[in-house]
Each structure stands twice: as structure tokens, then as C-alpha cells.
């Protein structure tokens, strides 16, 4: 067997080093958060140089958070809002995207450009008119008020349009020849073929809704309707900014995202189109 020399190993080492640096930037903050949440009150969280591994790890901070705040209510509020928003976004965005991808109609390109343009407007600009609209519709302090802004996003439509474009036209035409209506083709043929994209959009939407702070902050003022980000924010004020508790609350709110990703990641696996068409 050929002995590995420095020349052949060096590129590999550099590659791993690059990966480690990226990892440090991506996972690092989360590990720091986790470490802070597990540190006891006796331990200095601002010690220099920083200590990542807690001296005596404890779950006390988590129990204190749960005792002092209705975090399970926040969790269920967040879960309900996220579930509704994700489901609606998947349904409505893909429903809107299908004709944009596949049904020729007058003004389709213009509509698509308008849609793309709307993605470039920051939410902060839209916040006041959307807020006024929500108030007029009586959506303040309602779940619907939290869900609606996320129910059909321009990004979702754009993303699903691109996914539908990747499905071979012949499959759809075969269904048309089979006498299947457009709506049924969308539901029974197209959607199953873009499952990986649906899963990806689900993750993106879930993260966006789950982590949304600004909109819930302005539309909700009843603590019973608070979502997790509002709950975590409340910790900061209630406990005179005890970072251990804030960190514990943040970790508490991140876990569902990790679980959601774990359950949906299998849909990312390519190969859904295998055997569909040839040539």
C-alpha cells in the first residue's frame, strides 16, 4: 500500500480546517448558549478566557424558567401558530406557484416579476400598513393575526414555482391525456413529486415563524397568547437580565426546530424523480 505523504494529506487537512472554521461560526454560538444555560449561579459566565464546559452542569435554569413563566403555554402557542402557518404556506404557496410554473395565461410574467419584487421589500417597511390592516380586521390578540402574515409568502411561491418547473412536462401531459383535471394533477401528481422542496419550504417557514419576534410583539399584548420569542424576551426583563435564564429559555425554544428538522430531513433526500422519465 502506498504511504500517504504530506503533499497528498495537506489538501485534506486544509479542507477539514475550513470545515472546522465554518462549524465554529455556525454551531459555536449555539454551544455557547447551551453552555451558559447549563452553568450554575456560582459560576461566572463572563469569565475570561471563556469556559465552554460548565464546571458543575445543572438543569436548574430550565426548571426556574418553567416555574417562573408559562413556557408550556408559549410553546403550545408557538407550535399552533407554526403548524398553521407552515401548513397554509405549503398549501397556498404551491397552489399559487403551480399556474405560475405551468399554466399559460396573460400577464403571467408580469405577475411573477411583481411577486419577485415584493420579496425585496423589507418587513419593517410594510409593518405599519400591515399592522393597521390587521387592527382593522380585528386580528389583534388572535392566533389568526399571528398566522396570516406567514400564510402565503412570496418566497414560498417563488420556491415552489421553481420546484414545479423541474418536473418534466411530459408527466403532466400524460395526466392530462388520462383525463385528470388540473387541480387533481396538482394534488396527486405534482405535489408528491416536489416533496423534497415542500419539506425544505416547511423548514424555512417553520424557522421564520418560530423565530419571529417583531410581528408577535406588535400584534399581541396578552401574555396568554405569547409565543416563545416573546416569552424569552420577557425573561430578560423579569429577572433583571439573568443570562443563564435567557439562555435556558432560548435553548428551550430551539429544541423544537431541531426536532422538526430531524423529522423532515429525510424528505430532502434526492431521488424522488428516479424512473420518472428517460432522455
Amino acid at each position: 500500500m502506498k504511504k500517504p505523504n504530506l503533499q497528498s494529506v495537506l489538501p485534506l487537512l486544509l479542507r477539514y480546517l475550513a470545515i472546522l472554521i465554518v462549524l465554529l461560526f455556525t454551531v459555536g454560538p449555539f454551544l455557547w448558549l447551551l453552555s451558559t444555560s447549563l452553568k450554575s449561579a456560582d459560576e461566572n459566565i463572563f469569565a475570561y478566557p471563556p469556559v465552554l464546559i460548565p464546571q458543575s452542569p445543572t438543569l436548574d435554569n430550565f426548571f426556574r424558567v418553567i416555574d417562573s413563566q408559562p413556557f408550556f403555554t408559549y410553546l403550545s402557542n408557538s407550535a399552533l401558530v407554526a403548524a398553521l402557518a407552515v401548513a397554509l404556506n405549503l398549501l397556498l404557496a404551491s397552489l399559487a406557484a403551480y399556474p405560475l410554473a405551468r399554466i399559460p395565461f396573460k400577464g403571467r410574467s408580469v405577475l411573477f416579476i411583481v411577486l419577485l419584487s415584493s420579496m425585496m421589500i423589507p418587513f419593517q417597511l410594510l409593518m405599519i400598513p400591515v399592522y393597521e390592516l390587521a387592527i382593522s380586521l380585528g386580528l389583534q390578540n388572535t392566533y389568526l393575526g399571528l398566522v396570516l402574515p406567514h400564510a402565503c409568502t412570496a418566497f414560498g411561491i417563488f420556491f415552489m414555482r421553481q420546484a414545479f418547473l423541474s418536473v418534466p412536462v411530459a408527466i403532466e401531459e400524460a395526466a392530462i391525456m388520462d383525463g385528470v383535471s388540473r387541480l387533481r394533477i396538482w394534488w396527486f401528481v405534482m405535489l408528491p413529486l416536489v416533496k423534497p422542496s415542500l419539506a425544505t419550504l416547511a423548514v424555512f417557514s417553520f424557522i421564520a415563524v418560530w423565530g419571529d419576534f417583531l410581528w408577535p410583539l406588535i400584534i399581541i399584548d396578552q401574555p396568554a397568547l405569547f409565543t416563545l420569542p416573546l416569552g424569552v424576551n420577557r425573561l430578560a426583563s423579569t429577572f433583571s437580565l439573568d443570562w443563564r435564564l435567557v439562555a435556558a429559555g432560548a435553548v428551550f425554544s430551539i429544541v423544537p426546530i431541531l426536532l422538526f428538522f430531524t423529522f423532515t430531513q429525510r424528505f430532502f433526500i434526492e431521488g424522488a424523480m428516479k424512473g420518472a422519465v428517460k432522455g
Binding site: 418534466p168 411530459a170 408527466i171 401531459e173 400524460a174 395526466a175 392530462i176 391525456m177 388520462d178 383525463g179 385528470v180 383535471s181 387533481r184 396527486f188 401528481v189 408528491p192 413529486l193 431521488g271 424522488a272 424523480m273 428516479k274 424512473g275 420518472a276 422519465v277 428517460k278 432522455g279
Partner: protein
């Protein structure tokens, strides 16, 4: 069984006209093959019959009824796609029954039709498999089965064998021919492979640039091509063409004398298989390449700067650089006028 007619069928994409007022009669139960080079409009024509592309002008009728503006599902046509176009997330059984299930056909009727199709196409062992677990040939059989269960008046095939390897192509070709014989339905088949056209068709339609060049039985097209294009397209290797200017004096001997007497003839055509090696043959050339296929050989030779091909049974003694002489029977020499139209044989 239903006859299919096209009357003045025209197709425009924007301002570009791709099909120029086509007229065609296809008899009930006939197997018609559209052939032509890429971009000639054969697939567009098929898609217009299927209803997947709109007809810009003209009319299409099936069984006497005008279907020009009807949606595909109301035309009683079924199409087999080049790419199979199977639903990848469904099993073979689901692929076959999907359309019927969506249309609300009774379960027992679906089961009976699916059974009939899978038995006919020998798909019984694969009913629970998804397309990804099938070979190309099996996929194409499923695609044919999906057309079969629709019980259409007209079957449309869009280059169905293009993605199969040579062996499977031959096998599936025979199966399609057998299927036509068994069902007796009208079938329209698009291909650029003239072997498929010659072997399958009752009638061949040769297309070029959105115009029908010739319609006829396969051997009629082979023996009496209407023009230079059809003569060159039908037959493999292609017919040799010799321009009148290059065919002077020494070459015009014996059997080719008839050509010299007809001033209208500007080009003569000779099929490679009609060139016979002969010691005193009038066509003399230098061998440039030889392709030995076993049962036959293609001898490529050059005559006055023109490259010609001869199909000979035995080319063992020939080598590149040899001078060869060929003879051709009068009846196998085709004459074409200045416009490229066939004048006749000599």
C-alpha cells in the same frame, strides 16, 4: 375503429408557422408513421392530434367528428410518450389505473381493464413495483398499458423506442406491431428512425419543414420516392445522388445511357444495395472506407470528388485504395429534375 383526417392544419408559434396547412387522411385501423428529420413538425402534428397543442387553423376529425377544439380527454386518443412519462411515485398498477380512478370509473371495471393490459403486456410480475425499479423496456410497456386501458379510438406514439437500446427496440417494435394486429385500432406513430417506419407502417407520411413530402406504403416510398428529399430519407444507407455535371462521358456507359438521353434529368439516384461490383461496370471509383457488418458490407468510394456508397454481400477482397467498378440495373436508376422531383426509372 375510427378514421382520422387533417384538413388544412396549420400551427404557428408566435409569428413562426411550423405546420403549413396539412391535409391527410388516415383510414380506420391503419398504422401510420410520421417520419422526418428533427424540426420537421412530426411531433407538433401528433401533439395537435392529441390536443396538447392548439391548432392555429384547419380541422382535425376522428370518426367523422370534429375534435379540433376539444380537450385531450374528450378526443378518445391515448398517447405514449418518448420519455415514458410514468408517475414515479406510483406503482405499475397505480400508474395504469390512475386516470380511471380520477374519472370515477367503477373499481371492478378498473380491475378488469388493468388485468387485461398487464396480461397482454406481460406486466403481471411488476404490478407492485415503481417505475424506478423497472427497466426501460418494462417502463415503456407500462406506458403502452396506460394508453391501452383508456380504450382509445386512436393511439398516438411519440418516438416510443428512442430511449431503448438496440435489442429492446427491436423487441418492443415487434410487440407494438403485434398489438396493432390484435387491437386493429388506428395508430399514429412518430419516429425519425426509418427502419421503424418501414417495418411498422401501413402508410408512411414523410415530413419536411412542416410540409408533407410524400404519403404512401413503405415500399412505394422506397421504390418510387416523389423527390430527392424522400429518396434520401427513406433507405439506409441513404441513396447516392449524382449531379448531371459530374456524370459525363466515361461514366455514362451501358445501363446509364438512358439518363443521357433525357435532358430534364439533373440528378440521378442509385441506392447502395443496387450497386453491384462488376469488372466492366460503368461506375468507377476509388475505395475510401469499408464497413464490414458480417452479412453485408458498405463500401464507400469516391468518383470525381463525389462520395458514394455501395452495399455488397462480399467485400473480403476489397481494400481501401482499390479501384472498383460497379454496375446498376436500369430499373434501379432514379432520375430527378431541376426541382428535385422524380421523373422515373430508366
Amino acid at each position: 375503429m375510427s378514421a382520422l383526417t387533417l384538413r388544412g392544419v396549420t400551427k404557428k408559434f408566435g409569428k413562426t408557422e411550423t405546420i403549413h396547412g396539412m391535409d391527410l387522411d388516415i383510414n380506420a385501423g391503419e398504422f401510420v408513421v410520421f417520419v422526418g428529420p428533427s424540426g420537421c413538425g412530426k411531433s407538433t402534428l401528433l401533439r395537435m392530434i392529441a390536443g396538447l397543442d392548439e391548432v392555429t387553423a384547419g380541422a382535425i376529425t376522428i370518426g367523422g367528428g370534429d375534435i379540433t377544439t376539444k380537450p385531450p380527454s374528450e378526443r378518445k386518443v391515448a398517447m405514449v410518450f418518448q420519455s415514458y412519462a410514468l408517475y414515479p411515485h406510483m406503482t405499475v398498477a397505480e400508474n395504469l389505473s390512475f386516470g380511471m380512478r380520477m374519472r370515477g370509473v367503477a373499481k371492478d371495471v378498473i380491475a378488469q381493464k388493468v388485468r387485461m393490459a398487464v396480461e397482454m403486456l406481460r406486466l403481471v410480475p411488476y404490478l407492485d413495483r415503481k417505475p424506478g425499479a423497472l427497466s426501460g423496456g418494462q417502463c415503456q410497456r407500462v406506458a403502452i398499458g396506460r394508453a391501452l386501458v383508456q380504450e382509445p379510438d386512436v393511439f398516438l406514439f411519440d418516438e416510443p423506442l428512442s430511449n431503448l437500446d438496440a435489442e429492446l427496440r427491436l423487441k418492443t417494435r415487434v410487440e407494438i406491431a403485434a398489438l396493432h394486429k390484435r387491437l386493429g385500432k388506428t395508430m399514429v406513430y412518430v419516429t425519425h428512425d426509418q427502419v421503424e417506419a418501414m417495418t411498422l407502417a401501413d402508410k408512411i407520411v414523410v415530413l419536411r419543414d412542416g410540409v408533407i413530402e410524400q404519403v404512401g406504403k413503405p415500399l412505394d416510398l422506397y421504390n418510387a420516392p416523389a423527390n430527392l428529399f424522400v429518396a434520401g430519407f427513406i433507405g439506409s444507407p441513404a441513396m447516392n445522388f449524382l449531379a448531371s455535371e459530374s456524370f459525363s462521358g466515361d461514366v455514362l456507359q451501358g445501363s446509364l445511357q438512358g439518363y443521357a438521353r433525357d435532358s430534364r434529368v439533373k440528378t440521378i439516384g442509385i441506392r447502395p444495395e443496387h450497386l453491384v461490383i462488376s469488372a466492366d461496370g460503368p461506375i468507377v471509383g476509388v475505395v475510401t472506407a469499408i464497413e464490414r457488418l458480417g452479412t453485408t458490407s458498405y463500401v464507400y468510394f469516391e468518383k470525381k470528388g463525389q462520395s458514394l456508397c455501395a452495399q455488397v454481400a462480399d467485400a473480403l477482397e476489397l481494400a481501401v485504395g482499390n479501384i472498383v467498378q460497379f454496375h446498376v440495373a436500369d430499373k434501379h436508376v432514379h432520375g430527378f429534375d431541376a426541382a428535385g422531383l422524380r421523373i422515373g426509372n430508366f
